[in-house]
Amino acid sequence: MIKQNVIEATQLTKKFGNFTAVNAITFKVAKGEIFGFLGANGAGKTTAMKMLIGISNPTSGQANVAGFDVYKNAEDIKKNIGYMSQKFALYDDLTVKENITFFGGIYGLKRAVIKEKATVLIDELGLHDVANDLVGSLPLGWKQKLAFSVALLHNPKIIFLDEPTGGVDPITRRQFWELIYKTADNGTTVFVTTHYMDEAEYCDRVSIMVDGKIEALDTPKKLKEQFKVNSMNDVFLKLARG
C-alpha cells in the first residue's frame, strides 16, 4: 500500500527583507504519521509552520497541505487542519462548555453536532464536575488536554501542535503523548514542534532545522545510527553545534 502524503513542501522559502527565515525546505508527511519538527529558537520552525497553516504567504517554493495549495486555497486548508499553540489558548473567562461551543461554532459545526461532541469530549476527559466552571480555574494539564480536544472538534486531517507541552510536568506530558498516539491511530496526522528531545523519540519521523534549513530528516532510530549517538539529544547537539 502506498502511503498517502498530507503535507508536501518543495523548496519552501520565506524571506523577511534580506533575512532568510526559511531556506528552501523540502519534506513530506504521510497520513497518520507523527512528524516531529525540531529546531533551536530562531531556527525558523514557527515561520515554516505559519506558512503551512495558511497565515503567512511563502516567498517562493511550493507547499500542499491536506490536498490544498498554500497560495491558492489557504481558506480550504484552514477548514481541514487543527491548531494548538503553546499557550493552550482557550478563553479563561468562559466555561468549559462555552469554549467548546464557541470554537465548534467558528468552525461552522451545527449546534446539535457541537452538543453531541461536547458530551463525548467531556466524558472522555473526565471533566464532568467542571463542565460549567470557568476554564481559568482548571489546572494547566487539564487546560492543555481540553485545548487539544477542542482543536480536534472539527475532525481535521492534520493537527499542528506548536510546543504543546511547554511548562507542563513530566507525568502530564506522558499522558498528553498518549492522546497524541490515539489521535494518530485514528488516522489524523500530527505535526508537532517541541523543545524536549525525549519527546522527539516518540515521533515516527523527525526533522531538525538549523538556520532555516532542514539538516536532518529520518526516524529517530536511523538518525541516532547516522550520527553514532545514543539519544536524540546528542543528535540535536551535534547538529546545532555544527
Partner: protein, 368 residues
Amino acid sequence: MKRFIGFIKKEFYHIFRDRRSLFILFGMPIAQIMLFGFAITNEINNVDIAILDHSKDATTQEIINKIAASKYFSISEIIEREADIEKAFQKGKIKAVLNFEHDFSKKLIRNNKATIQIVTDATDPNTANTISNYTNAILQKYLQTINKDIKIAYQIQPETRMVYNAELKSVFMFVPGVMTVILMLVSAMMTSISITREKELGTMEILLVSPIKPFQVIVGKVFPYIFLSIINAVVIVLLSIFVFKMPIRGSLFLLGLESVLFIINALSLGILISTISKTQQTAMMISLMGLMLPVILLSGFIFPIASMPLPLQIISNIIPAKWFIIILKAIMLKGVGISFIWKETLILVGMTLFFMGLSIKKYKIRLE
C-alpha cells in the same frame, strides 16, 4: 452569520464577566457626568474683589451695591490709589479690581459713556475670563434698568449678550465634552484592549488559523462596543436632561446619528491602536496618552481653543473630538440642523474612513 452571532455572544461573556470593564463601561459615565456637573465647575462663587472708586457718586455706589449683592463676588477691600492695585493683588486674596474713572456719573449722563476698568488676576485665565464676563453681565443689567427709568432712546449700550448659555451654567458646556470623552474611552480604549487581549492570550492566533475571516473577527469584537457606546450616549443625554435640566434644542435623531458616527470613528481608532500594540498595557497607555489627553486638553472641552497658542490651535484640528464637540454643542445648545454642521460632519466621516483604511492596511501587514 451563525458564526458571527456565536462570536458576539462570546464577546458579551467577556465584558459581563470582567468587573473592571463593567465598571469602566457603566460606572464611569455616570460618575463623570455627576462629577463634572456638580463638583468641577468653572462657575465662580464669592470671589474676593477690590474696588477703586475715583468718583464716589450715586451711580458708582449703585453699581458697587449690585456687585456686592450678587452671589458671585464679595468686596473685601476698598482701594484709594492706583498704586495700591498691585499691592492688593500681591496679597493674593483678591482676584479682580474694579476701577471706576473720575466723574463716572457725569460722564455717563453727559457723554452717554463712562468707563470702568476690570483688572483681573490672569494667573488663572479661566477664572479671570469668567469674572470679567460676570461683571459685564451685571453692568449690562444695571444699564438696562437705568435706561428703562430714564427712557431716553439715545443711550448707548454695548451689546455683549451671553448667547446660548445665558445663565452661564457650566454644566451645559460640560455635557458635550463629557459625552465625547466617555464615548472615546469606551469605544477606542475598550476595543483596543479587548483585541490586544486576544493577541496576548494567543487566542487571536487560533482565530486566524480557523476559517473565520480576520474581517469577521474585528467586526465581531467591535460590534458589542458599538451597542454599549450607544447605550452610554443615551444614559448621558438622559442624565443631562433629567438631572441637570439641560434642554436639548435640536433633533434627537440627528444627535443620535452624529453620535454613532463619532462612535465608529473612535472604534476605528481603537482598532488602529490594537494593530500597533502587542500587549493590553501598551494599548491602554497609547489610548490614554494618545487619545484621552488630547480629547480632554485640545478639543475645546475644558480649555477654549481660541485662547490656545497658534500651533496648538492648528493641532486641535486633527482631533476628531474637537469636531464632535462643536457638533454636539450646535445640536444641544443652539438647536441647529445638519445644514449648519455638515462641514464638521464631513470632516468626521473623512477621518473615520482614513482610520479604517489605515487599520485594514496595518492589519494586513501584521498578518504577513
